[in-house]
Every structure is written in C-alpha cells, then in structure tokens.
C-alpha cells in the first residue's frame, strides 16, 4: 500500500487543477491575452508557497518520509535547451491550452478528445528521444 499516498496526492492535484480551471483551454488563452489575473495568481501563489516550504525544509534539515534528509537536485546548467525547448513547449501550450498534467486530468474527467493531444505528446516525446543527440543543448 506504499502507493496509496501517491494516489491521494494525485487526486488532490486533479481536483485542484480542475476546480481552479488551470486545465481549461479558455483560462490559458485568457492568461496569454493578459485579460485575467487568475492564472498568474495561481502560479505565483504556488511558487511563493513552494519557496517558503523548500526554505523551511532546507534550513531545518527536515527528514523526509523515507528517513533521509530532504534533498532537491539542482537542474543541470544550460541555456539553449531550456530556451529553445521551453519556447517549443510554450507554442504547444498556447495552442492547445494543456500542459502534461492537465492532459491526463482532462482525459480522466471524460474529455476523450484530449486523447489526440496525448497521442501527439507521446509522439513528440518519442521524437525528442530519437533526435536529442542532434539538437543544440
């Protein structure tokens, strides 16, 4: 039953993203038009809560559930992969209004058409695996 906690966290995540409407194509469109504070407020609040929480973890050497001190790996240094990959991701995000989490949440919620987006995302991931050694990083 060690997986039950992940299932519960996932359920919370799915409910919050749906009820906040962060899974909504409309909300993402509205955000990129700067016509609502809603999405910016969500992202900024999550980051503020995250920064405070991680600082508490680090400064108090909090022990995680696995009995080890909490450690968060730094992201690898780089520039090109982050800016180019990020922009490609953003183009898709701005078009279909769903990032990877919401793709799964929406399918679970019964929007089976988003299965087409999932198929595309799997193909895109696969293509990256094929091409990665030829891409600037």
């Amino acid at each position: 039953m060690k997986f039950i906690k992940y299932l519960l966290v996932g359920i919370l995540f799915g409910i919050v993203l749906t009820k906040s409407e962060a899974v909504s194509w409309y909300r993402i469109y509205e955000m990129f038009q700067f016509q609502s504070f809603h999405m910016f407020g969500i992202i900024m609040t999550a980051i503020v809560v995250g920064v405070i929480g991680i600082q508490i973890y680090k400064r108090n050497n909090v022990i995680g559930l696995d009995g080890k001190p909490i450690q968060i790996a730094d992201k690898e240094k780089g520039f090109k992969n982050y800016i180019i990959g990020g922009t490609i991701f953003g183009l898709g995000w701005g078009m279909i209004g769903t990032c990877p989490g919401p793709i799964f949440i929406l399918i679970g919620a019964g929007f089976y058409g988003i299965g087409i987006v999932l198929l595309g995302a799997l193909i895109g991931t696969f293509l990256y695996g094929l091409l990665k050694d030829n891409l600037p990083h």
Binding site: Y6, L8, V9, G10, I11, F13, I15, L17, K19, S20, S24, W25, Y29, F32, Q33, Q35, M39, I43, M44, T45, V49, G50, I54, G64, D66, K68, I72, K75, N81, Y82, I83, I84, I88, F89, G90, L91, G92, G94, M95, I96, G97, C99, P100, G101, I103, G108, A109, F111, G113, I116, V117, L118, G120, L122, I123, T125, F126, L127, Y128, G129
Partner: protein, 185 residues
C-alpha cells in the same frame, strides 16, 4: 462570493498546488508530470529505438500512480464538485473567441470545438490537437520539464535553468495565442 462548486479562487488553488509539490518532496520525490510521457514511451517499447528510453522506468511507477490519481481527481471534480457556474472569462476574451468562431465556455472547461465528436475528427482540428500535443511533448522533454517541473518546482527551488525555461514557455505561448491561433481560426 466564492462557491465550493464554482471556480476556486487563485490563492486557494495556488496554495494547494504548492502543497502538492511540497508533499511529493517530503515523500522523497520530485513533482513533474511530463516525465510520465517518457515513462509511457519506455513501457511501449521505445527503448528499441533510442537509449533515451532505456532507463529504469519501474522506479517511476509512483509518478504513474500520481497521474492515475490526477485522472480520478479530474473525474470527481467535474462530476461531483461542479455546478456549471465556472469559467467566467473576461468579456473581452469572449469577444475575441467569437471573432475566431470558437464557442464561449457556458460553464465548460473546453470549447465544444475541441471536444465534440463532430469536430475533433475533422482534419483541421485533429491535426491541431495532435500537433499541439507534439510540441508540448517534444518541448517539455527538450527543456527537461514542463509547468510542474520548471514553473512550480524549479522556480520554488530558485533554479536559473527553470527561469530560462519558463521565459521560453511564455515566449512560445504568447506567439501561439497572439499569432498562431488567429491564423488557424
């Protein structure tokens, strides 16, 4: 002003998303949804074509369980926690959608155009959804993460690479929302 069955306010939503990330870190894991796409490719046998997919995906099973939970959460939220009063957009946004012939929300999370059986199998919409998904999948792996991994986790951990990626997310998103969508629709 706010109803539990309507749109949850941004400060409660943001707080809970931050809490989800902190919980996963407490469990010794990292919050990141797009990694699951790589895992699903590996399970489907993509390792035959690229060593990028030959990794110990079984160590990622916990993340698939998070995804399964997220799908259940989406189901619960739509079927039991919604009264159809949500997605109240800025009227200016609705007017712009109208110009592109994209239907207004009327309480729905997604336009009918992207969900109804009559439209999603037309070449245009099918291609739009597939290609948009392809960009999301390709871009998130190229950048090493998506909104959850970079915008929430990486930014919270004050990572410069994540800031660069998030700038990319917004550059791409702004181009898509201001130039591509009006061109397509």
């Amino acid at each position: 002003m706010y109803s539990f069955y309507g749109t949850w306010p941004w400060y409660i939503s943001g707080f809970l998303i931050g809490a989800v990330m902190l919980l996963l870190i407490y469990f010794g894991k990292t919050f990141g949804m797009s990694s699951n796409l790589r895992t699903l490719c590996s399970i489907s046998g993509a390792g035959k074509f690229s060593d990028f997919f030959r990794f110990d995906w079984k160590a990622q099973r916990w993340n698939l369980v998070v995804v399964l939970g997220a799908m259940i959460g989406g189901f619960i939220a739509v079927h039991y926690l919604s009264d159809g009063s949500g997605v109240n957009l800025n009227p200016a946004t609705v007017a712009q959608l109208n110009e592109m012939n994209i239907d207004a929300p009327h309480g729905n999370l997604l336009p009918e155009l992207f969900t109804s059986k009559e439209t999603i199998f037309t070449p245009k919409i099918f291609g739009f959804l597939l290609f948009g998904g392809l960009l999301v999948g390709f871009g998130s792996r190229y950048a090493g993460g998506c909104t959850s991994g970079h915008a929430i986790t990486g930014m919270s951990n004050l990572q410069l690479p994540s800031l660069i990626a998030v700038i990319g997310f917004f550059v791409g998103g702004l181009i898509a929302a201001h130039f591509l969508l009006p061109l397509i629709f």
